[in-house]
Symmetry: D3
């Protein structure tokens, strides 16, 4: 691949990929609304507000693929999400269509299905049950991706990301954790695949407790290899027992499902 664009490159996930994808494409074009530091070798750094359509169309020029992480990644006021996630993601897809980009990795989220109980095993056919306005924006993004594939042949793999950090931070993440290494190999698997159409999958390492099933996406050939088990003792020492009547324990979305309406 010649040029791969990463939006949201200044964020947590963006930093992981900026480092992890070095050498994967000839050039990594990095974009964010925040500061990303200097461009390193084989990097292009482009500050860009994704809600500015003209700027996004420029940004996407000459790119072969896009890893779309940009936008707000926590619960937020609807009006902020309207700009960053609804409009921003539309602009990215429209720019991809106009520039002939072949494939996008869309950073969807487990919060698109966060109101399912922990005792359920979900696959890509699970009913959408967002646990937050943020989760609603991810349902929207997946629908938009489906549309751009069906009508304009822009392929997407929508990855419902669990919790991608160097280490799991609480008991829930023992189930939802995806290691940075597994995330990096996922991105490579997605862009290496011969064809993907629009595929929905879950971004999670093979932890001991499993809520999500990626069998339907086995054609992609992703083989994650890490597990949260190494961190269990520490986490369990740090956090008291979970209360099975707490919505944050009952529902897959955890705290997102438990909290009330976002107040600015």
């Amino acid at each position: 691949m010649k040029r791969l664009l990463i939006t949201g490159a200044a964020g947590n996930l963006g930093k992981i990929l900026r480092e992890g994808l070095k050498g994967y494409a000839d050039i990594l074009r990095l974009s964010d609304i925040s500061d990303m530091g200097e461009a390193g070798p084989n990097e292009e750094v482009v500050k860009c507000d994704l809600s500015d359509r003209a700027a996004v169309i420029d940004l996407v020029k000459d790119c072969d693929g896009i890893v779309h992480l940009g936008g707000i990644s926590i619960e937020a006021a609807f009006d902020d999400l309207l700009q960053a996630n609804f409009l921003g993601t539309y602009n990215v897809y429209e720019a991809a269509r106009q520039n002939g980009v072949k494939r996008i990795m869309f950073a969807s989220s487990n919060h698109a299905i966060g109101f399912h109980k922990r005792t359920e095993l979900l696959d890509d056919k699970a009913e959408l049950r967002p646990d937050s306005l943020y989760g609603v924006t991810k349902c929207y993004g997946e629908a938009l991706a489906s549309y751009y594939y069906d009508k304009f042949d822009v392929e997407t793999v929508s990855v419902r990301i669990g919790s991608c950090f160097p280490e799991p931070k609480d008991r829930r993440m023992l189930a939802t954790w995806m290691s940075p290494r597994d995330f990096i190999s996922l991105i490579k698997a997605i862009f290496d695949a011969a064809m993907t159409g629009h595929t929905v999958m879950y971004g999670v390492s093979p932890n001991k407790s499993v809520w999500w099933n990626n069998d339907h996406a086995a054609f992609i050939g992703w083989q994650p290899q890490d597990s949260s088990e190494a961190f269990r003792a520490d986490i369990e020492a740090k956090f008291p027992e979970e209360d099975r009547h707490d919505p944050a324990v009952i529902y897959q979305g955890g705290g997102f499902a438990a909290r009330g309406h976002f107040e600015d």
Copy 2:
């Protein structure tokens, strides 16, 4: 029911219900951005732009239920949909939550699943495959409805409406037509039901050719009774043979699936 709000009351569907629901609630509150004429007996007429949140919160006050038809109901520029459908529908749900409204009928659309082929029989578990940006806004609306039920106990029946006109207008509508009479009885069935949670169903009369299955919503007890068959001879005389290689014939969304990107 004491007061039922109808948004989009000046539109095609709104007019059908304004007439058809006379006497169903003590008061029909009618709202639109366009002119709705004078209020009749047991009517309240409130001009309102759904993208104005404060206005919508006022509009919803004292209502027991909402038939949310408002917004753009054809393919349109994304920026227009952003205001009318994304923001407008959010405002309606947020107003419902703040005002304690129990149940909403959300006018979703067959265009949320319009990229399925005509040869498929869909039910509520069918994969979302929107055929237009308009269809994407309906996917979003259903996700929002799911969220407001799961978290705030606001019930919704999302009705993927086929084609609701006095008569079917073309060959495709022989399959997608819902008679105004069946639409009216559907609204009554929805608000008469003891509980609905968030239910997705299809708004279509029992025509001869069937693409959609409502068995899962049989608890609602809707018994539509009309059929497009009475209009078949006329329609077939008026319209030439369908070309089975035309996307408008292949896909359930018809012309919406066949047309390209919306250009203002």
Copy 3:
């Protein structure tokens, strides 16, 4: 059929069949622990405690089929159910095996699945979710029937009966009502069928609101024809609005699901 045994013949359902099955078999053998009055023409009346195995083995002699309605049909103390429903039903099956009876209609109950929500459409594959100890005895009876078919070739149709009365008595029964006429035609269809194996089906008339699906049992050819709709106006006048947060409204089992532990 020469001789058809009805257990529980003095009960509500038993009386309906005693009258309705006149002439269907050469002889109706009627059994109950309570008084059943005099034997009419082509009737045999045998008082019998179903928990007395030897008596039951005698009772079943020379019968070609059994309609097993006997036992306790409301929530009760476990110790009473142990005798009447657990032991009683075993005795009936064991007597059937020893006497070579070919087929049994087992009066199961919707309370075997009463903790499913009203918004679900159930078929024979629905998870068992009993709403009462009574419901648990029906789950047991279905399992026993399965066993006697698989191992001893005694066929059973287990009918999860809704509410079989001359008229529906409350709002819930608008959905669960089976008319006596439909019940009678169901029994005939069951014993007329060439083979049944062990089949689970729902005993309900084609009412407007539908919770249960019998498609899998379409081979039996039962065509029920009544509807609770004729009684709706009266029922709705008599009963106030249903509260959708009341367990008796949320769950299919109604009051059985809502009540607590049975206290003698």
Copy 4:
């Protein structure tokens, strides 16, 4: 439709359609290896051995559609089936491809699934379980039809025909009977449909006892209207009780499933 070819026109089904489709196409081209009498108005009569490829290619010229009934329709020696059904059906499809025929109705048979039990409800996704070599030829025909659609865009509706006679002839046919009138309306529905791809459905009237489900083909809009019930009393008088241990009663294929290897 200008010219519709019927193969096997001298057989039972062929005669029903020769009469019933008068006026449906401008010209009915009738073909058989047996004598078909004189051509009537708007008829062309062509004697043809379907195992003669060149002859079949000629036969199909200028046809818009084909109703392929030709071949052996009972159990037979494999070597005879090899010519009549394997080779014959291939020749018809190859001729259709070469002549640009758009759609074929392939007379498949319930004997393609005849080893399913009567107590099962089958749809188009049911496992193939042929009950005879004849049934195996129908599985083959459906596979060939799938291939010609996927690769060459020749559409087929494969109809697993039950028992199409003026009246049901035995107890099994009370379930499998398709009235000639319903068969005729089925053929019209198939050729009237805008698109069909390769669709598998069951050819049966809405009898009381139902083994087969056509919901997935509801897009075709076939509305059969007859029932075997009118003939039940006569049939039941004529035929003794069915033995539920007889393979001819256990399996949907009836006598085909019960008989052993065909001996010439």
Copy 5:
């Protein structure tokens, strides 16, 4: 966990857990109708007849969890099962409810589904097909567990145990064997889980030949690690060829499915 009760502690499974769960809870309370020897450190030994309700209510006091292995674990006379399994298990659940016990591991059995063929892969949704009266008592126990969770919030994991012995004893056990080590880790996984609701799973090690699928219970995070393969050579040497027409080979329940009615 402070105090974990094990019923049936004198049996084969009970002994495995008495040893294997040392140190898992502060105190193991051990109960059986048979002699269990002296209490070791951190053990309480309580002789108890599970059919004595008052005794069971006492037994359960101050326990946080229950591993319910007690009762008859082979085919037996119904009257014995009535006391030990039907009444005994009810008493345990009722005692759990009255004492506020949070979670129970119920020792269900593969004999609840033993009349499925070996060639089928079952999960928790498989139809119940008990192969014995013993198996029927396990179906009952699962239904009771479902009821106590839905109504009284007592959680259960019902484990359909295969064959838990130090080594597999015959050819069938090459598929059904669960090692003691895997059984112990299963119990820990069940009581460590944050929530379980009522979950049905299979107790079997990852042997080469697999009949049962636990994917739906992946949230529990059980990772069994043993295999019967180490014992294959010995077993195959010891046991002659299996006859595929023998019910003990055809059905998953093995000898239970093959034997006739239990005669005392």
Copy 6:
């Protein structure tokens, strides 16, 4: 096993098994229409044209099992397939029935389902979608196998073989490759199983990219262990990028799906 017959023994697969199954049966009887060289120790070599029924009946005498690889294994003219695959396979099954052979491994092919897209995960219930006339002959063979099991108790495992060569030869084979070692262990697992009925499974090694799922056949206990990954670098160096609009890339059947009608 005393005597195992391998048809098609001179072909690629036959050679692998001739070598790999040495010692598995007392005698390997090898058959082909082509030269197979001299019989080695414990081998019988029988030249035989499978379209000659009498010869095949002789060939099968005294065999306990058959590995049926014989026939044409590439796309070919229908008339050639008619003899080699349709007639040849029938002769093998009929000979097995007449000689009381218990089990057959039928070499089906991925080309029986080759018109499914690469992005789908198929199991044995996947719709048949042959990609070639060759693929159609495999659909036929599976149907014939089903028939011979249901009626004559001749068991078959139909293996839809991917690509069995010492090494994968192109990019597609990175997904479809089955190593010779895994093929050999599959054959042993099939003939070692206590019962198989008619089972359909996929012959493929556990490669990184997965299109096929054998969970339903887990009872057979096959544990393949190789992967194409070792060959990836070489293959990717040798072959240019795949074009996702090329039918050979879109469809699982690869080149078979992409090529047109076979012209002799």
